[in-house]
Assembly symmetry: C2
Homo-oligomer: 208 residues x 2
DNA sequence: CCCACCCTTCGGGCCAGGCCGAAGCCTTCG
DNA sequence: CGAAGGCTTCGGCCTGGCCCGAAGGGTGGG
């Protein structure tokens, strides 16, 4: 519980929302902490069961231990008055394991337009064409996860797709090379192939 | 953010999950704090926008400022190893504005059985008979809220109904006198009329 | 084999802030 | 008008814990 009250720890957790595994050194430098301090925080988070540590060679890789942790962080963000300084061009971000940013919001709108999803009081829900749409788009949902969660975008304050569907969409985008990671955690770059892919598949056009 | 890291503040917020308004003195005694300490915490929480204070006569009544706050607390609970000491007989509790405990879990199962809801990977979702079921049961959804959220019960670890539907069910139960509040925050008593009402309306029978 | 690198542990400094009791202000009640 | 009850502010204590630098152990590269 104490983990969610400390700025540095929340910063570390937010970095891990990237979904990738990071080494202690990387996390320390991104979070602007001395390696020793970051190590202490990460040990604490590990003991609290919020992150998982995996030793590989001389590095230790940290990941969030469960989507539940990401859920808490997501739930907290609408309450933080300044939504944290974000990069100016946050067109495409990943949010733990799904797409966010402008791209995420527009994909959600596209799926509503295609009849897979519906908007109810600002939240996304399954619609009649859900299963048929999945097949048409070639999306495979991971098992053992809620198929759909609505997630509010940090900056745009509009819903995008989380849950199993969100993970499937992001996995598809990576598999097709539509997006690539950048040096900045969580920030994604849309490739030329992606611009075509998102347009053809989903009817989404990103403004320059 | 600091608000979610301090045990006393979280305790105060959890008390307000009752959904009712409490005075500062009540909150202080329930949270085992000196009135001055509780006052400081509550001022802090008010400044952070998490609770709302309303002065009435010589008392100040506090409530959670938005369902978003309850969402964070709910999201945090699966992560806390000991799910907080709960009352041994937690047959019926309210969880901010909806029913939880055994009664909440059983109501959710009943609505699944009646075809209003469906279970997907442990989470509740709308099903085909949703709208028809609402009319049959005489439930009116409040506007401007997500109709359905699945919420994990603290003790039973099984989903119950939150969101607008959860609020409607609880409101109906209060209106019909099926449940009454007790001295313990959040703990509800099922009335004899309630035992009949839940059985007739929902087909739910509470074991003694 | 030695060095470079990474992580962790230890010691110590330092400050935030949690906590309380006392005092002050306001409202209500007799 | 005085007394009582409730909330807040203030002062002061004190602990928890955040942070860092230095030292120690383990791993991989040259």
């Amino acid at each position: 519980m104490r983990s969610f009250g400390d700025g540095s720890r929340v910063r570390l957790l937010c970095l891990l929302m990237d979904g990738r595994a990071f080494t202690g050194k990387e996390l320390a430098s991104f979070a602007a902490l001395a390696p020793s301090t970051a190590s202490e925080h990460l040990s604490h988070l590990r003991d609290a069961g919020l992150v998982r540590a995996q030793k590989t060679g001389r590095s230790t890789y940290y990941t969030l231990s469960s989507p539940d942790v990401a859920t808490v962080l997501e739930a907290m963000t609408p309450l933080l008055p300044p939504p944290l300084p974000t990069t100016p061009i946050a067109m495409a971000r990943c949010c733990y394991d799904h797409l966010a940013g402008d791209l995420g919001v527009k994909l959600a709108q596209a799926l509503v337009h295609q009849g897979l999803l519906a908007l109810d009081a600002g939240l996304l829900e399954k619609a009649a064409g859900f299963d048929a749409g999945l097949r048409r788009l070639g999306l495979a949902l991971p098992p053992m996860r809620p198929a759909l969660r609505s997630c509010l975008d940090w900056t745009a304050r509009r819903p995008h797709i989380a849950g199993g569907l969100g993970a499937a969409v992001l996995a598809q985008a990576f598999a097709h090379g539509w997006v690539t990671r950048t040096k900045t955690p969580r920030l994604l770059q849309i490739t030329p192939a992606g611009a075509r892919g998102f347009a053809d598949h989903y009817g989404v056009v990103m403004s320059p």
